[in-house]
Amino acid sequence: MNMPTYWVHVTIENKSGISDPEGETILNDLVLQGKFSSVSKINSAKLLKFQINEKNKKLAKKKIERLCDELRIFNPMVSKLSINIITD
């Protein structure tokens, strides 16, 4: 049986309260230097898109979660993950 293909998007960003120099720099040195003064905060993050073949959505998500943990894709001390599934 052919397993369905899923796109799993993993966003890695700093936990709140931990500084985000990249986001702050984009805000202060780019956005606020232009005419976009209504922008008040920018958070930078890393997005990884995984294409995976699994039986169902739940398993796909679980597998990617485990992968991120085991391979140290992120440091749980500093960053948090959010995982979104986009069905192909």
Binding site: G17, S19, D20, M77, V78
Partner: protein, 722 residues
Amino acid sequence: MSLSVQESKHITKKIGRDLSITERQIIAAEWSEHCSYKSSKKHLKILPTTGRNVINEKGYDSGVLDVGDGYVVTVHIESHNHPSAVEPYGGAATGVGGVIRDILSTGTRPIAIFDGLRFGDIENDTHARWLFKNAVSGIADYGNCLGIPTIGGEVEFDECYKNYALVDVAAIGFGKKDKLIKNHANVGDLVVLIGGPTGRDGIGGSQFASDSLESEDRSAIQIPDPFIEKLIIETILEARNEKCINAMKDLGGGGLSCAVSETADSLGIGIELDVDNIHTREAGLSPDEIMISESQERMLIITEKKKLPKLNEICNKFRVSCSLIGYVKNDKMMHVRKGENTFALLPADFVAHAPLLDRKKTIPKYLRHLKKENKNKKLLDYSKTILKLLSSPNIASKHWVFHQYDHEVGIRTVVKPGFDASVLRLDNGKFLSAKIDGNPKHCYLNPRQGAIGCFEEACRNIVCTGANPIGMVDHLQFGNPEDPEIFWTFMEALEGLSDFAKFLRVPCVGGKVSFYNETPSGPIKPTPLIGVLGIIDKPPLVPVPPSNGDYLLIVGKTKDELGGSEYFEYVHKFIGGNCPTVDFKTSKLNMITVLSLIKNNLIKCVHDCSKGGFVIALSELSINGNIGCSIDIEKIPSTKNLSHEKILFSESHSRYLLVVDGKNITRVKQHLSKQKILFGVLGKFSGDQISITHKSNNLVKSNVDVMRKRYFNGLEDLLKHG
């Protein structure tokens, strides 16, 4: 909070009232081992700290050395072990940032960075590999963004650092003597905080560093921002030129608590500040949090009232935030307000001086159980063993590491990393040579001789470039000092370093003590790290690789000292044996003699024998020149009846390999004989094989090509495929 019962009693007795929560937080931060040196301070006094070139001023965070013609060099060393063990990228990067601000606080420009990195067994431990890779990229990213070259260091792996990391960073600064900040303050001067905003990051960091690392306690994360740091460097240097700075202090461990109390104490002044005036990253920080936050990239400045507009102008130009947080008084008190409400009011000298401790010491039991000889070992083929050592993580080329660092930015780097010491060009036409060295394997077997050995090795390395040692910094890293056995190892190392420094007349111009380096499986091995600076008046000896027909000489005596060697520990997995010892007189004589040979242009290249012993030093020379060598070890000066393996792999100190052009060989021999130096002419470079014989016995035959591949690919392969 970690105030002991005795400390709490002492506080109540001296202050005569109960402390507020903010006061307790401030004192707990300042009295942590990390900030107060309460276990070590009494003993550190034995180190010689004065000398012809040393400039001492109150409140300096780094050592200052006069290098002539109106110029000074500054140097400092720090570690960031606990943060790096938790978050290697950010921990290592912020470690670089901290030491750079120490250099900056004297009013000199940082011109070079060194780093000493130590991790667990990266061959078998994926976590150690993860820590290593990330610490290296943290240092690279931070240093490269700042435009300060990382010009050297060392990397070592040992089981004792399992699930832990030692990240030591040393920095060198350079500047004009008349522009040094002469820390002083007058009543009415203003206290200004410049740099990044204060946030919740790193709260309790220095107390965290003064506790053992337990897996659940991982609160102190600091995020590096090299771009702010770069702007701070330029802001401070311009403010210095405009004479806007009366006194200055970097915010490191203990945050504002530490910076304010220590500044007030060292200058004999009082400081009153209002936490409402401090620029913060997030709203709702309590006064306690603001006082002990260890947010990075911040400096405390004391300026005159009339200079404030100029200082503001400079800060605006570089878009560095600047808050006027308080002013100088004459009551010698540290006064923290929030608006009209007082949160802390304590004598600054009381806060800045934790009660010092008398720690007990006893000889560790493990030393009694160490074996002198390795009796069970199998006889191995020497050629294969050499290849194994050449590709081992501790000996293999570290180019994977230093190629990630920009080591040339600033165009001062004359001798690049990868061989012995690196050399920087200074503006007065002189050259500065620098190196850091450590050796926990030796120090575990004999902390005193091990520490002296690290010091000697750093000296040897800079001697190899033609430099005279003028100053040293020490970084003493040990486990929990409350354990008398660990404290004994600390005292041994310290006394050894002090003896040798006095003998060589090389003053200790700075340093750091880091205790509580404990991993889940126990304390680390004693890991003192020594940095030595040297000055060269004329162009340095830029090593020329050996070529066909050059002679190979060895200076110094090879002894029965395989203890703690890579051969015992990596090849035979044996911990024990005789730790190499340093004979002070021989050490000095050998240094002076090698230096005079270099001065007279008699040698092409000098390389010291260290990790892996004579045979590895020889292999490195051959690999470097891509040329073979035929030698007979009969001619190596050594203790009587020394076995082949000991001659090849013993890590005895004070030994140098000299590469000498045929036309100079007679003069070199005459010179060495005249100085009554032990030396041997071992053979000549030629062909494409290293062949080592003893009388008519063949001991080693190995193709330089193969050795070269193993040496250069050892570490890289491990990291790429791991």
